[in-house]
Symmetry: none
Subunit: 406 residues, 2 copies
């Protein structure tokens, strides 16, 4: 009888030897009785999400975990962010992440317009009135963030960022990254969009009010991370799975949604260190009523990794540990516990260091590993695998694959 | 902050169980306190330079270690030997290794012309006067060796060896390996070159003198290992690294030089068992003033492997061990210690046996391995990787990579 599959992705969980932890990794230093029990009862190993030494983004990493070749499927961050906030995308569209920013005398003085929180919906409405040569959608996201989608055919995704990624300088002109008619057209439209965003935002009442209050006006839109919407084979077709995804951050929701997974809303799942872990675990258990495969991303460890805070990473890992025990209730389910990439506190960025991996389920070949961490798992029975093979391994364990050959 | 990278390639270091060493490998039998210390403080594993069971040459092995696919990049030994002795190569050129040999009554009686050492420059000058249908370069190399480069367009690299690789037989006619206009042209030119080499060498004063002294004359040039110069993407472009190479033998120097690495001259580095190891270690340390990445090849272990001499291999490994400790001085540097292939004394040739690998650096995930050898490293935290991934892994550790995605 076929079973079910859970990928529990602890975002950025992998780390390196940390001096202040006497050479341990945060995961080794943390008290994790529940995770360790999964390791002890499961089989263990290391996983290179994309390939050894390749530093995955959260987008390319999750693409690989879902069995897509990120070198083929990845066209830029924009489309995933757009899909992640629920925008409807056509296969010809080109999407950009955007910031509301502050321009003064031709220079960007704040890339986040004083981390503007209120009034962005009204500003977005004004932006939507811009007259461009193509249809477009513009939606605010969290705080100063927004998404721009240019609709229709004959548009290229290869243009540079308008966002200069620094202050005290002007914004960039869009130019085609590779010379094609389509990229040139996108660049021309994008430049017009940015100029017109200044026109409609500069004297907007919301900004007038902000200036009166001594706040920085959100008087320009800075697009970046442009890309054409990738044509991902639907996960139903590709893997013959009813699949659901739980993720706090738009980028990962976008990857899952563009691959045709059902994105499950979880109250209290913020993608931050304040996320409601019990709520996520409950949603996973409930989600298996409708799905054979669930991917759940817990963002916290990555945040502490980026901040270089070993103690915070340990604390959050221990919080995760105290919630995951309940997953043992799941029957006929194979659970993989791993990450999408390492975010070592010594690096403060994603890294290509391989991830610890535990696969738990009734009849897996157990090994001598009895702790869930980088070093312990490296001695496990799985040895070292590629992230692109993980879903196939789980499908095979759960008897959800077809035999190849006779 | 980004660090630096050293690949210390102990040529042919890998071996098999040797009966006379009570089943140990030479590396296991050797006393190697310094190498062991790197292993104890580092992470360890096995490496297949190209792929499991594939027996690498020193050329294809180093190509793989530098991240090139040898199945695409390798066109034959000739171009690497030519580059290795400093010849200037164009992208259309076809290069051959050559021997000065002795022909008697239409038969090759010595493929090395009595291992001729003196007078080869004068003989080469005579060869350079040959009138061919294309421009060509001809340079003597060490002892009886030389290199021929045919210049210009419309030349193919696919012709068989003129060198019969045995004595008592005539030399081979060049014929195209695959039928193409270019290969045919090269074959025609090469046959003309060989015939004319006999003309200009037979009565050359150097040979007259040799015969008078009872030495074998160097009266024919035997080309072999022909290949079109491969178009390798420059390592600066490919890996964004300032890279330097230290290698005693022309073949490895050629691979490094054709990939755009700066070949560092080291006095006393002979590529033999008499090489000055301390000098090499000093050159590595000094080389990091100008480079982010250094590959240093130490040829010795391979030579004893080819000779089948376990005791010599052990002795040379112990010599290496007594020199490498100084590398611990290198700060913010990730050091990989491994080989380019195994050369087991039981095989007396290169083999595809995987190599021991230690990666040492400040925050690597240490493991329980405390010896640098085949068996100990096989229990390490790295498990088993491909040689083609090594540079990516090191770049990732040293924070010299770009994130793929967001």
């Amino acid at each position: 009888m076929s079973g079910k599959i859970l990928m529990l992705i602890l975002d950025g969980i992998g780390d390196r030897s940390v001096k202040e932890l006497e050479g341990k990794t945060p995961l080794e230093a943390a008290e994790t009785p529940n995770l360790n029990r999964f390791a002890k009862e499961g089989e263990n190993g290391l996983m290179d999400t994309i390939a050894p030494g390749i530093r995955p983004g959260s987008d390319t990493g999750h693409l690989s975990l879902l069995g897509y070749d990120p070198y083929e499927a990845y066209t830029g961050r924009g489309p995933f962010e757009a899909a992640g906030i629920g925008m409807d995308l056509g296969p010809q569209d080109v999407a950009f992440r955007c910031n509301f920013a502050t321009l003064e005398d031709g220079k960007i003085v704040d890339r986040r317009a004083g981390r503007i929180k209120e009034g962005t919906e009204e500003l977005a409405e004004a932006v939507r009135d811009i007259d461009l040569d193509v249809d477009f959608k513009f939606e605010k996201a969290v705080e100063h963030r927004a998404v721009l989608v240019l609709k229709g055919e004959a548009l290229g995704g290869g243009v540079n960022d308008i966002d200069p990624h620094e202050t005290g300088t002007g914004y960039h002109e869009a130019t085609p990254l590779e010379n094609s008619k389509e990229n040139k057209r996108t660049a021309r439209i994008l430049n017009k969009f940015v100029r017109k965003s200044i026109d409609v935002l500069s004297d907007h009442p919301i900004n007038k009010k902000r200036e009166k209050e001594g706040k920085l006006p959100a008087n320009v839109i800075l697009p970046r991370g442009g890309g054409k919407v990738p044509e991902l084979e639907d996960i139903q077709t590709k893997h013959d799975l009813n699949a659901g995804a739980i993720a706090g951050i738009p980028l990962v929701r976008g990857v899952c949604s563009l691959s045709g997974m059902d994105v499950i809303e979880v109250e209290g799942a913020t993608g931050g260190l304040d996320t409601d872990l019990d709520s996520i675990i409950d949603a996973i258990i409930e989600g298996f009523e409708d799905n054979e495969f669930i991917l759940a991303n817990i963002k916290g460890p990555d945040l502490s990794g980026h901040d270089g805070k070993a103690k915070d990473k340990i604390d959050f890992i221990e919080k995760i540990d105290s919630s995951v025990g309940k997953l043992r209730e799941l029957e006929e389910t194979y659970i993989a516990i791993t990450g999408d990439h390492s975010t070592p506190v010594t690096v403060m960025e994603h890294s290509g260091d391989p991830l610890p991996l535990t696969i738990w389920g009734e009849d897996v070949r157990t090994d001598d590993v009895d702790e869930f961490n980088e070093r312990a798992c490296s001695n496990g029975g799985i040895n070292r695998i590629s992230g692109g093979d993980l879903l196939n391994i789980l499908k095979d364990l759960a008897d959800l694959t077809e035999k190849f050959g006779a």
